[in-house]
Amino acid sequence: MNCNGFRHNCLFFLEGQLSRVIEKEMKEHLESCEACKSKYERMKKTFKLLRIDKVPLFGEPRKSALFPLVMEQVEERSKRTRRRKYAFAWSFGFTMLLALISTIIGIKSQKPMDYQYAFMTNPNNLIYQEDSVVTNYIAESLIENDTLIKDVKTAIDNSIIQGSELSSLMMELSSEEISTLIEKLKNTNFDNI
């Protein structure tokens, strides 16, 4: 065995962890190499010195106090975790509620806006997507129909006529008036308006 091999195995040699064959080689090298012998002796002394280093006793009072202290901490932290979970659940629930309320409010506030207003007439389920040309045409039809003419005129004059208002005006028409209007709408080619 050379010096490198000896140094590599030195610790295991000290711990008595080597096979008999290698241990024998180590001993032989130790006899013949002063440098390795000195290194080995130094390591041995280090081990001996470190064995002197003792740990302060973990006495009986400490031992018996440990479990109650641990459980006290466990209880305290469990409570804290529970509180945190409740707080999270409440704040999450509250946030969801707020989100729901604001969504409902949003939907409600969107309803009067006629960006996608559907206008439906009862007997034939005629549906018209919001379209200013169509809306104006219906308004004119209502005027021609001579019903509620004043209201519609006022609305147009003031530029406040909206789909929803048309809808409410439609609701006030008699069935005969609606039939007349439907016939008129059916025969209308909106592309040419």
Partner: protein, 173 residues
């Protein structure tokens, strides 16, 4: 302990947990002290180890012994502790009182030098050294704690002994 009691442990059986604390408290303290080198801090880390072990008991899979698992927690806590706190030098509290004043002084000096030398070791080297040298822990358990390969653990141990031997040089002559 192991197989049957793992289930009990996971359920949170306090009688069993008390046994675990009583059985391993001192052993954990001894090793943690050798890494931290301070009685109060070592006690605090041991206490914290058991608190965490109880709160996280359901994560214990039983692949290692309960002590290895406990020590893995203690090791992580010790590592964080070493990173946060600057090294301090303290009087070694374990000098036998029956020695003569001269002998006491000498022992105190040796203990302090060992203390300094150990504190100069990087945390991983320190841990491997303490587990191997003082606890005679097999490398297969050490690698579970340090989450490294056996060769790495052996190298860390070798470096630690080498450094300690160099640092304690003047005491060895």
């Amino acid at each position: 302990m192991e197989k049957v009691d793992i289930n009990k442990f996971k359920i949170g059986d306090e009688t069993l947990f008390r046994k675990i604390v009583e059985n391993y408290g001192e052993k954990l303290y001894n090793t943690v002290f050798r890494i931290i080198r301070n009685v109060d801090d070592a006690e605090e880390i041991v206490q914290e180890t058991f608190v965490r072990a109880y709160l996280k008991r359901k994560t214990f899979k039983g692949k290692s012994t309960i002590y290895t698992w406990l020590f893995r927690i203690a090791y992580n806590l010790s590592l964080n502790f070493i990173k946060k706190r600057k090294p301090t030098l303290e009087l070694h509290p374990n000098i036998p009182a029956d020695d003569s004043p001269g002998k006491q002084y000498e022992r105190q000096e040796i203990a302090q030098k060992i203390d300094i030398a150990v504190k100069h070791l990087p945390p991983k080297q320190r841990t491997v050294f303490m587990l191997r040298f003082y606890e005679n822990m097999p490398y297969k358990n050490i690698v579970k704690i340090l989450k490294c390969k056996e060769g790495t653990a052996k190298a860390l141990y070798h470096f630690a002994v080498q450094k300690l031997s160099d640092e304690l040089g003047d005491l060895l002559t």
